[in-house]
Symmetry: none
């Protein structure tokens, strides 16, 4: 269940290496490998673009060839946009993430250079092809975006799988339970008491239906007791006479 290793193959710009590091660390990925970076390594442009993800850059390892970079990896994915004449299984980021969580061993994802992507040789090294399904009429993912989508999916599936390392927002976050029925009844009774003298429930023949409608509207939100208290305050305020202004 270790996070995948992100392998940047012959990247051109240090800035993009930094952005990839930033994208990774957002979702808990820390292991980056760099194959034959065009401008050498370390690259002074990488740090500023990493926006604080220095740990990823500091620990990045550099290799001469793609084969060396993935020598210790059991599962290798090659990211490509276009279909290739290679007969390998093609998966999306979501399915790749599921496979990573289901298969033991070390996982690596290869990303090609900005201008041209992975070479056919690099793709051949991989067991599977990872393709982000994009708009067929407009495919324009940059390197860091491709990385962030893969990192995001890995962490999303990790959370699904119950590895509770990352923050998981839920519907219930901070939310209080709905107020007990008697508080809600108190609110509805209060409002009905105010509406009664206004003739709101007339004609008598429609009175029951009108009450049901009103109750339906007020029951829908499932207000908690603080919210009910706020609304009771509103009603009490409306019952007061106007202030001298």
């Amino acid at each position: 269940m270790a996070a995948p290793i992100i392998v940047l193959v012959r990247p051109q710009l240090g800035e993009n290496i930094g952005k990839a590091a930033r994208a990774m660390l957002n979702f808990g990925l820390t292991e980056m490998r760099i194959v034959n970076p065009r401008d050498g390594w370390p690259n002074p442009s990488a740090g500023p673009a990493a926006a604080g993800a220095d740990i990823v850059l500091d620990q990045a390892k550099v290799y001469e060839t793609t084969a060396e970079a993935i020598a210790d990896c059991e599962h290798v994915y090659a990211t490509t946009v276009r279909k290739r004449g290679v007969t390998k299984p093609v998966v999306g980021p979501d399915e790749a993430a599921r496979l990573m969580h289901g298969e033991s061993g070390r996982h690596a994802i290869l990303f090609g250079r900005e201008a041209s992507g992975l070479s056919t040789e690099d793709v051949t090294l991989a067991r599977r092809i990872l393709t982000v399904p994009i708009n067929p009429e407009f495919g324009s993912l940059n390197l860091a975006q491709a990385v962030i989508l893969c990192a995001y999916e890995w962490s999303r599936i990790a959370r699904e799988a119950g590895a509770g390392e990352l923050v998981q927002p839920t519907d219930e976050d901070d939310a209080l339970p709905p107020a007990p029925q008697d508080e809600l009844d108190g609110l509805i009774g209060h409002l009905e008491g105010m509406l009664e003298p206004k003739g709101y429930f007339l004609p008598e023949s429609r009175s029951e239906a009108t009450r049901r409608t009103l109750r339906g509207v007020l029951t829908k939100p499932g207000w908690n007791h603080l919210e009910v208290r706020t609304l009771r305050g509103v009603l009490s305020s409306l019952q007061r006479g106007d202030r001298e202004s």
Copy 2:
């Protein structure tokens, strides 16, 4: 099942608007709205950064306020990184995408300015908070990355749905969609107008917080337009003098 509208609130750099457009179009999103962009609109830096996603920029609409930008939207999501003292449901991009596919009506996702995110007032306008679950020790998503993750999830769930799996029946299945934002604003404005002369919003120093609390309570249920009409009727009734009994 229309794609969500991406609303950029007070964005600073044209370049980031362009990048957001590019991120959107990769996953088939085309409708962008911009609230009060710092450097005006159109912005010459946006086009080059859009990398060909000109159709998104050409069709982008500009608004003075967030409220105007979402006036016709039934479902509004506010993206935030941090926890807020606001009691609204918090969902991730995946759950948001599922909700968008399950609920009819127009969906909008608010993104705040690069430096500071959404203001508390903007968050208050939304029914739900959308938080990308990121590494608690390193959260550093930029605007275009936040947009691309939401766009990606929307298209991923759309494909799931197209594959025949999705459109899970919800309890709101046959229900009417929430009333558009301007109807809700009308209700809130009506009530505020009644409460004002009662001194409900005093002391002045607490006035904004009190308005936010009230709005939060009334935004929670997602009332449909019939329900809003019922409540407008209630308020009008309360404004009348008592009947002779």
